[in-house]
Amino acid sequence: MKISLLINEGPFTHQASDSAYRFAAAALAKGHEIYRVFFYNDGVNNCNKLSEPQTDDRNLVALWSQLAKDHEVDLVVCVAAALRRGVKDEIVADGFRISGLGQLVEAGIQADRMVTFGD
């Protein structure tokens, strides 16, 4: 199945990004395709490569980057939501790209399922 994900919360404050990551990894392991992961609202903060969690905790930004690298998952950060929050190209981690909201709508159109992770 072709699946798109929408993540509406930033890392650490909420579990949304953790759950989405684990969902994506599990879906890929089962042979499904992740068409796109779209980051919206505070979810745009998931791409911030300056994020530096304590060493005994998971590093969500790095986990997403690695998932993108291993499985060629398209990680898209909403430009309007990102600019509001000071998230710009210079702090975007590998594997993420900043683009428009149209990418979310298109992800919904192309995928068999759209799954939202939020608060």
Binding site: L6, N8, Y40, N41, A80, A81, G100, L101, G102, Q103, L104, V105, E106, G108, I109, Q110, M114, T116, G118
Partner: protein, 129 residues
């Protein structure tokens, strides 16, 4: 997305945006509205629902001067210009808050929960904010 051929989009899905939070206090209502307006450009079958405290998003005479945030409530009036015509308000949510159709900035279709549930079940994609 690439531009559509003159015949319109190849795939048309039912997109529903469900607003359940008040207009101010968090950014969800405003950022949902931004998605709604973008979706309109994709010529999909689009609808909006306002329920729970989300019904306050459509309240007339909002004034955000005191909290220094953007008053985006007039944008709901522009939805018609974007051909977003299917706008539903849950009757029970409205009544529970002492509101009537006259309190709203636009004229949505006011439906009881049972009917809304049926419409929701027909959707391809439901975004909840």
């Amino acid at each position: 997305m690439e531009e559509y051929d003159e015949g319109g989009p190849e795939i048309v899905k039912r997109f529903m945006y469900v607003n359940r939070r008040p207009p101010h206090g968090t950014i969800y209502a405003l950022e949902c509205l931004e998605v709604v307006l973008i979706t309109a450009a994709f010529e999909q079958f689009e609808s909006l629902v306002f329920m729970d405290d989300g019904v306050y998003q459509l309240k007339k005479n909002q004034d955000t001067t005191g909290i220094g945030t953007k008053n985006f409530s007039k944008t709901y009036r522009a939805l018609d210009d974007y051909d977003v015509e299917r706008i539903y308000v849950e009757k029970e949510s409205l009544e529970a808050r002492g509101l009537t159709a006259d309190d709203l900035i636009i004229q949505p279709e006011i439906l009881p929960t049972d009917e809304l549930r049926e419409i929701m079940a027909q959707q391809d994609i439901v975004f909840s904010s």
